[in-house]
Symmetry: C2
Subunit: 200 residues, 2 copies
């Protein structure tokens, strides 16, 4: 792993772009074959590279896995922060948040599948603190919005934490059944989920 050294901006950008593309492609392969069942030479083959070349972009197979999780969580977390910082009422924030979230899960379906498959590594690994923290922060954002909806008397369930668990479950599960060109759009799915949680 040896990214360009000085401030050669153009080179740096090319490197970053290529790296991001490798992450994207690797997510697709891992989602289908499994992270552990995919050897590095085989992965490189699928990406049109040689085994050694991958190590130009990633120090190890595990760091590649971390990069997949970062590519999933970082932009989601950024946008979620923006939504929850707005002045809208809690229920509107919840709807915006779930729409964003579902769209993200669908767009990065492969990342989600890898993320879920490797839950045990993420939960226990030493190098995984940042990924864990980001997931935790995102869940806390959803939780706090949901608690405000609850205080406004607009949740269906008496227990706000059960609402949270249910919402986490259904949204994240979307990655496993959604197919492009399906009957429902991301927004329709998201609005359905919100309708289940929120009392009208």
């Amino acid at each position: 792993m040896s990214p360009p050294k000085p401030d050669r901006t153009a080179l740096r950008e090319r490197y970053d772009r290529r790296q991001a593309q490798v992450v994207l492609d690797a997510a697709r392969v891992f989602a289908r074959q499994g992270y552990d069942q995919t050897s590095v030479p085989q992965l490189a083959d699928d990406l049109g590279l040689a085994a050694g070349s991958l190590y130009h972009y990633f120090g190890s197979k595990e760091q590649l896995l971390i990069a997949i999780c970062d590519q999933l969580m970082d932009p989601l977390l950024d946008e979620a922060r923006a939504i929850t910082a707005s002045d809208d009422d809690a229920t509107s924030q919840l709807q915006a948040l779930v729409r964003l979230w579902v769209a993200h899960v669908i767009e990065r379906r492969n990342h989600m599948l890898v993320f879920q498959q490797e839950r045990h590594v993420i939960d226990h690994g030493d190098q995984w603190r940042q990924v864990r923290d980001h997931r935790k922060e995102f869940e806390r954002l959803v939780e706090s919005v949901l608690e405000r909806v609850h205080r406004d008397g607009e949740t269906r369930l008496a227990d706000a934490r059960l609402s949270l668990a249910a919402l986490l479950g259904m949204v994240n599960h979307t990655a496993q059944w959604y197919r492009p060109r399906g009957r429902l759009s991301a927004a329709e799915i998201a609005d359905g989920y919100v309708e289940l949680i929120v009392a009208r």
Copy 2:
């Protein structure tokens, strides 16, 4: 793998019991460490056995994984069949089904976690047809009950298939957050889920 040959019933039973216990223990270890990250010698060690001894009960590591999935799905499917064969109205059947299902997911939490982690193997492997078929049949049972609830005009969502996806997501996700001695009982959780889906 050499189970007792003739009809020595007592021996056969002892063998089966021990085998089932190995499956149970293996599920716990795999849920924590991951199936691929757990070597057979290490697994054997955790079970208080030697590596070779495991092969007395299982022809391969993959067959052990299949046994874990069978131990999860088979009893669930049997009980689900009984519920959906009853004369109760659709909504009552749905509640009974979800209660059973949540209780099962909680009781066999480790199996569920392994099942979810190894989704890609189950989906694509050759020896996995039976596990796939059983999962499919269970989902169809839930689907058909849900469709009847829908026809009775008692679902919250206009789309019965979205209700199904949401329900599958939240129930299965329960394995990931439930802790024994938690605030909510299995039945309370199940009833909460049903409350979200069904219009009162």
